[in-house]
């Protein structure tokens, strides 16, 4: 039978492979190569000479050095890390707490699950526009402004300044993603055999001990997935960033920084943008791989 499948291997995989090659692999390899050239978009520019041959415009690590010395890129780098750390922690806590509550109730769990999941259906841009209104009008005037319900200065004008938009983004992505992650935690919680808890009760374990010694370790596979998904999507966040501040007040996340780098200079510096994109790839690859290996190891120890 193996021979039969071998005969059909290439016809079956061919289309997928060609698509993968043209859309991802070739652009990726070309992109890494172009990050070492003086790429300006439609042409290359080296030593005050215009050329169309990338091989005569190789500049070594110049683009990488320029990227590291680019203040905007460094700001975006730190901003992305800060945002991701805060957002991943908050999303996970909120999602886990609601998953725990929802698995404890009998009636109406389905309705609550649907409601909490709903924000995840919508695009970041549409949601970003709604939340921009909430932060600028509802929060700043109706709720927390000087004439509002309670005056809390920290929650007004959250789309201005450098640090407030970071919190605004966290509020937005928690609202959007926690419901999705909650679904994964619920599936994880439902997969824990109930006799474990029964045995623990007979042994006299308290609720907290049960949570610490049964629930948390048994949730390890769910943690792996949720951390992977939240890390990846927070690192790559773009639409919400555009909708809320569009990068004003140095609030660019890395995805937006890379997108806007060519339009920061004239002629557009695609070479440096590409160098930033390669650094971005390395960062994401290292962080997500480390995370998966670390959390998988916890799963294995179980």
């Amino acid at each position: 039978m193996n021979i039969y499948y071998k005969k059909w291997f290439f016809p079956l995989i061919g289309l997928a492979f060609i698509l993968f090659l043209t859309v991802i692999l070739i652009p990726f390899v070309v992109g890494v190569f172009y990050s070492f050239t003086a790429w300006k978009g439609t042409f290359f520019f080296k030593n005050n000479a215009l050329t169309y041959n990338p091989f005569s415009a190789i500049v070594g690590f110049d683009n990488y050095i320029a990227a590291i010395n680019n203040e905007k890129f460094c700001n975006a780098f730190l901003y992305t890390i800060k945002f991701t750390v805060i957002a991943v922690i908050v999303i996970n806590i909120v999602a886990l707490v609601f998953a725990l509550i929802l698995t404890k109730i009998n009636q109406g769990a389905g309705i609550f699950r649907t409601v909490f999941f709903m924000p995840n259906l919508l695009g970041g841009l549409a949601l970003g526009f709604i939340w921009k209104f909430i932060f600028e009008i509802i929060f700043s005037k109706v709720f927390f402004g000087p004439d509002g319900l309670i005056a809390i200065d920290a929650l007004t004008n959250m789309t201005q300044g450098n640090f407030k938009p970071l919190l605004a983004l966290v509020i937005l992505v928690v609202w959007q993603m926690a419901g999705y992650m909650m679904l994964i935690y619920i599936t994880g919680l439902n997969n824990i055999p109930t006799d474990l808890y029964e045995a623990a009760k007979i042994d006299g374990a308290s609720n907290f001990q049960q949570f610490k010694h049964i629930t948390l370790p048994m949730l390890a596979p769910a943690f792996t997935i949720v951390f992977f998904l939240t890390l990846a999507s927070c690192f790559k966040l773009l639409d919400q960033n555009i909708a809320l501040t569009n990068g004003a007040f140095d609030t660019r996340l890395l995805a937006l920084q890379i997108l806007r780098t060519p339009s920061d200079t004239s002629p557009p510096n695609y070479g440096q943008a590409q160098a930033q994109a390669v650094i971005f790839f390395v960062l994401i690859a290292i962080v997500t791989l480390t995370q998966v290996i670390l959390t998988k190891r916890k799963e294995v120890e179980m």
């Binding site: 039969y4 993968f20 070739i26 172009y34 259906l121 709604i130 209104f133 609202w175 995805a255 943008a273």
Partner: protein, 278 residues
């Protein structure tokens, strides 16, 4: 201790109801303000509209060319998702059943591409599309089909591994050809994971902003999200005309909300199943 249990139950429901209201409030705000004039939005953003005036919805639909952009988005989503579903299930099937080194290497390649962020390929990709004259809707469909592959191949691969080979072998002995084998024997068995693949891919393709922005830009044929973006950008020059933005956002999200409410069981199941397989 029934009284203590009841107390805990009540607290849980109160917390859940408050959080549901919090989750739904931005959407409620969106609906309320889609029927108000700019003046009314400014003066009473949280109240019910004094009159349910549909004129803002209608003018927003004109502004974002709703019918055209809706059908463009629909066609792009349907064709891309169909291509992704068919070719990634075929490819995954071939890679599971054919245990060669090459097949393993190809599988690793597909999966490791999940780590490549779109930002790392977008500039060369658009450059390539420019050369091939593919900065248009067919080009967009090809690109979505490519970007959807990694996750879908991964999900199908995991699922097909758990399907015994013997069913297919029996069909081969009965004289089924490769297409019958795939379409009548294997594909129906893949239904649960196919639902997951369809939902996950439809959601991001329908809502995606960046790829249509780079490929189509401010052309005469735009997707819904792109129309929304340009409507906001153009109107922002005159302050923030929320009387346009709110109804535009509302009409652009209604289709996906309707589909979700019709198919919500599949959504919840499909999403959780997909996650656990990962």
């Amino acid at each position: 201790m029934p009284s203590k249990n009841n107390f805990g139950k009540i607290v849980r429901y109160i917390v859940l109801i408050i959080m549901s209201l919090y989750t739904l409030s931005p959407l409620a705000l969106l609906i309320l303000n889609s029927f108000k004039s700019q003046v009314e939005i400014d003066s009473s953003p949280t109240n019910f509209p004094t009159t349910w005036n549909f004129k803002y919805l209608i003018s927003a639909m004109k502004q974002i060319n709703f019918l055209q952009s809706f059908f463009i988005t629909l066609i792009i989503t349907i064709i891309s998702v169909t291509i992704i579903t068919l070719i990634s299930s075929m490819a995954a099937w071939a890679m599971v059943r054919c245990k060669t080194k090459l097949s393993f290497v190809l599988f690793l390649m597909f999966v490791s591409a999940m780590l490549i962020p779109f930002q790392s390929v977008m500039f060369p990709l658009i450059h390539l599309a420019d050369i091939l004259n593919l900065k248009n809707i067919p080009g967009l469909i090809i690109m979505y089909s490519g970007f959807g592959l990694s996750l879908s191949v991964f999900l199908y691969h995991g699922f097909i591994k758990s399907i015994p080979k013997s069913i297919e072998e029996a069909a081969i002995i009965d004289g089924a050809n490769i297409f019958q084998l795939f379409w009548h024997i294997l594909f129906p068995l893949l239904k649960p994971i196919t639902i997951t693949v369809i939902i996950l891919n439809s959601m991001w393709i329908w809502n995606d902003y960046l790829l249509p922005f780079l490929v189509l830009g401010n052309s005469s044929t735009k997707t819904l999200t792109l129309e929304l973006y340009f409507a906001k950008m153009q109107s922002s020059q005159f302050g923030s005309p929320w009387e346009l933005i709110f109804p535009a956002v509302l009409v652009s999200i209604i289709p996906i909300i309707v589909i979700f409410l019709l198919l919500q069981k599949h959504f919840v199941k499909g999403i959780s199943a997909g996650a656990i397989k990962e």
